[in-house]
């Protein structure tokens, strides 16, 4: 009975869902009780492991376009439109399949050739990109779990910018993000892609956002988004700088953060 009672309470404690008195009670008991502390540590480890490693599936593009197609399917305002919408899409698929099977040999040879070329190009690029993503995630995680989140703790960009410029040999754009709930924490020097980079640190609600910047002479590009070990990453080229933003905020919020970083980098 005692065990059950504790179990839900410890879970709620780890989730921050107990009232203040309850949180304090558990904290006090943890100081005296090794077994209890171990249980809490186990629950926390489980949360971290699951959030970091379990798949959070993203809606496939095909589903997205099926949903967008509903806009037209929905016009007639019939009570059970779901099945009908599906069948409305089927003819398109059938037509496509029919066309593809029209000249299977030609199609497959062409496809194989295109595939082989793109695969080679893609592999070359992806290994470099993957390494960059990996390093970005590692830096981000290190900054959030270690004591070294920032070198300069200042919300004043006039303090942070000269500091970073002096350490780095280039001058990164430093600014607060014009977003509700966004706090500029400071900056630090980090290493990515085998070179020192500027890391600007923001807090978005409870989440940490790392925005890495380093010079790279190439023309501007649109942000590419990726998810790596549960973190969202976007990177792009803008104004002679490579930007790489990473955080564990949700998808919509991440999009807003990226938009804000781009806007401040442009101004």
């Amino acid at each position: 009975m005692n065990l059950n009672d504790d179990s839900w309470k410890l879970n709620a404690f780890v989730d921050g869902e107990l009232d203040l008195a309850g949180q304090l009670e558990i904290e006090q008991r943890m100081e005296l009780d090794d077994a209890l502390r171990q249980q809490v540590e186990t629950l926390r480890a489980l949360s971290v492991a699951v959030r970091g490693k379990a798949d959070r599936h993203e809606a496939p593009a095909a589903l997205r376009s099926r949903i967008s197609a509903m806009k037209h399917a929905i016009r007639p305002q019939a009570p059970t439109t779901a099945r009908r919408a599906q069948s409305a899409l089927r003819p398109v698929a059938t037509a496509l399949a029919g066309w593809l099977s029209w000249r299977p040999l030609v199609t497959s040879m062409a496809a194989a050739a295109v595939f082989a070329v793109t695969l080679n190009v893609a592999l070359l690029q992806s290994s470099k990109q993957e390494r960059l993503m990996d390093e970005a995630v590692a830096s981000h995680v290190r900054s959030t779990v270690g004591p070294h989140l920032v070198d300069v703790l200042s919300s004043d960009h006039h303090t942070v910018k000269p500091f970073l410029s002096s350490k780095l040999g280039f001058s990164p754009p430093v600014a607060e993000l014009p977003l509700p709930g966004s706090v500029f924490v400071g900056g630090r020097v980090d290493y990515l892609d085998g070179r020192p980079v500027a890391a600007l640190v923001y807090r978005q609600g409870d989440h940490v956002v790392n925005s890495f910047v380093w010079p790279e002479s190439a023309s501007d590009s649109k942000p590419e988004f990726a998810t790596e070990r549960g973190y969202r990453i976007a990177h792009w080229l803008q104004g002679g700088m490579h930007h790489c933003v990473i955080s564990d905020v949700n998808r919509e919020e991440f999009q807003r953060v990226v938009d804000a970083v781009r806007a401040t980098a442009a101004s």
Partner: protein
């Protein structure tokens, strides 16, 4: 409120949560094709009621519809899948007491991605959905209670059981033989 207006609301309020909707549906159905069909069906329903939706509650609102659609779908297509609800405490009690010479927190930290995914997929669906909503969608107990249509107390007990099962799957007790080696009493649990 014309069709255009409704669609605009739908795009603004429901579409941002499409990933969450798909993630929940996939973890409940455990099949990508089924999850896509269910989500489309659910969004079709959501579209019909979009006029009555308040902005701040779009996510739990949509997930509630998705979950509901999932269960209707499961009932029709996989009636053999048992929806494990408030079962007596039996099997779970043993698990929670698993003891080991290695602290389970360490074993869990070492767990691989595939192992974690498999452990979640193996949870009974009633625990799985609550666990996914909490750990992957990071929702508050309040929202989970609303989505799963259960009281908060039940959210808590299911979450506790889901985690006990996860722990048992990821940090199984080490071989009992290890514990028969005599040791001084005070070094018992901690390394």
């Amino acid at each position: 409120m014309g069709d255009e207006e409704n669609w605009r609301r739908f795009e603004q309020l429901a579409m941002p949560h499409l990933d969450a909707a798909y993630n929940l549906a996939l973890w409940i159905t455990r099949n990508t094709d089924d999850a896509q069909d269910v989500v489309q069906d659910a969004l079709m329903r959501a579209m019909r009621y979009i006029g009555s939706l308040r902005l701040e509650s779009a996510r739990p609102w949509l997930l509630q519809i998705v979950r509901h659609t999932c269960y209707t779908w499961l009932k029709e297509n996989r009636p053999q899948e048992k929806v494990l609800l408030d079962d007596p405490e039996d099997a779970w009690r043993d698990l929670a007491d698993a003891s080991s010479t290695e602290p389970p927190a360490i074993a869990i930290r070492k767990a691989e991605r595939a192992q974690i995914n498999a452990a979640i997929a193996a949870l009974p669906v009633g625990y799985r959905e609550v666990f996914v909503l909490r750990e992957l969608e990071e929702l508050a107990y309040n929202d989970i209670a609303r989505i799963a249509e259960i009281p908060i107390g039940t959210v808590m007990s299911r979450l506790a059981r889901a985690r006990a099962l996860m722990r048992a799957a990821l940090a199984p007790a080490t071989r009992p033989a290890l514990r028969t080696v005599p040791r001084p009493a005070q070094t018992g649990q901690k390394p």
